[in-house]
Symmetry: C2
Subunit: 253 residues, 2 copies
DNA sequence: TGAAACTCCTTACGGCATAAGGTATTGTGT
DNA sequence: ACACAATACCTTATGCCGTAAGGAGTTTCA
């Protein structure tokens, strides 16, 4: 359900994450050829997580997908924790980095945010990986770099903006995957599911409207599209609000 | 016995969450007096989570704190999953709801956001509770209600604003607890920790500055205060930006 | 031709959620 | 007064989990 970080040796994790940059110096050629690679293991691990979430994920499950035992993975990766760090970074690899050449920084930020959102929706388990300590790998670093590059031209203070953007994207992704899994795990359409939930509430909490008048009114308000669209709209609208705020800082009245 | 696959039975969870509202009808008085209450169990469970995080948390640990076995808890609560839902809602109970009477909606929102942030910092495990489906209990509902009440007077569209505020607060809380635990788990001060991390990076990725020029420049920029203050500042500043955006929607130029 | 270095395996341990079923305790119906 | 129903709590057991320990087979170097 929840992956929490124990310690883990940062040096070892970092070395694995950035291993492409440096030739492995300690590698001797003795012994049988490795049948697997770290990359293959990470790919298999991501596939398992994509299919069954982090709940169904385990070292045994990853090994099985590769036709190996769980223990054989420990030849390549020190612990589960490090493997998850590698998965986390690798999942940020193909983020399109589209860079609509010079359509203005606002459009570029929107594009960046939507790409990142799409990444989280492709790999919902990313949102469950707890960062007890921030471990930046090359791919996540590249995501950060690309938004910093966009912001650089605006001359705006980057820290708060970047942090807010990440929060907004992650939060929205969480909302969207929540509504998705609410629908799939119960096997009902989201419409049905929410109707059922509403009936249950009316039965359990008949005085809901008196206790929570504003919530009740909001629930009654018609909203366009299905529930997942609504969560998506909340993202688009929220991003617009945030960028309005950024613009008002960019061009002081 | 019918066991719902994977997730908990929403009906049972909701009944537990909102149980104060309805008199339990099925309760007969036969058998030994219960020595525990659901409230006591939830309180103990929260205490365990506050002390040791969700990874050190288990039904056994909660039972032990109450002088019982893990299995005795199952008399009161159907599964671990439901207990965590109850903990989650209960943790939102004492949010001050300060309501500075009429200091203007912007100040009120800021107050609300800071209270919620404080709640997340008091109970960092809240951020790790995976919302496979959104389960609103009375206390979390009250938090939602209070921000809706504030926004109601402004006449602004609530959905996107509320969603953005929650994202920003949760994301910031995560950043702050990350830097905190980075310091505590390694036993070094945050200053030392980041220096060490920097040294490691320079050694493993000597061409960092060429590959990630904007990130490198940002890292070099002086920033006030320690790292936790910085994360806190990112929250305050991000909130200001977001509220600027809200204001620009409130008063169209 | 060893010996070293390496991959991968089996086995085992302690911890987890929780199913199954036993026992003691309390009330109800007679 | 007494059987019995209903309940709280316990012990035990099952099948997961991460991973420590150590063994067997494979490849290369001295």
């Amino acid at each position: 359900m929840v992956v929490y970080a124990g310690q883990g040796d940062p040096q070892r994790t970092m070395a694995l994450l950035w291993r492409a940059s440096t030739a492995d110096p300690g590698r001797t050629t003795r012994g049988p050829k490795p049948a697997l690679t770290v990359d293959a293991i990470v790919a298999a691990a991501i596939a398992v997580a994509d299919e069954s979430g982090l709940d169904g994920w385990s070292m045994r499950a990853v090994g099985e997908r590769l036709g190996r035992t769980a223990m054989s993975l420990y030849t390549y990766v020190p612990t589960k924790r490090e493997l998850i760090d590698l998965m986390y970074d690798q999942a940020h690899a193909n983020l399109a980095t589209p860079v609509a050449p010079s359509s203005g920084w606002r459009a570029e930020i929107e594009c960046w945010a939507h790409d990142l959102l799409a990444c989280y929706l492709r790999h919902p388990w990313l949102l469950q990986v707890s960062h007890a300590r921030p471990v930046l790998g090359p791919h996540e670093q590249a995501v950060l770099e690309s938004i910093l590059r966009i912001l650089d031209r605006t001359g705006l203070p980057a820290r708060a903006i970047v942090s807010s953007l990440f929060s907004l994207v992650r939060g929205s992704a969480q909302s969207i995957t929540e509504t998705r899994s609410a629908a799939t795990t119960t096997g009902t359409s989201d419409q049905e599911w929410w109707t059922l939930r509403g009936d249950l509430m009316r039965q359990l909490v008949p005085d809901f409207a008196e206790r929570f008048p504003y919530s009740a009114r909001l629930a009654k308000e018609p909203a366009p599209g299905n529930w997942e669209d609504q969560a998506g709209n909340a993202f688009t609208d929220g991003l617009a609000i945030l960028l309005d705020g950024v613009e008002s800082a960019a061009s002081p009245t």
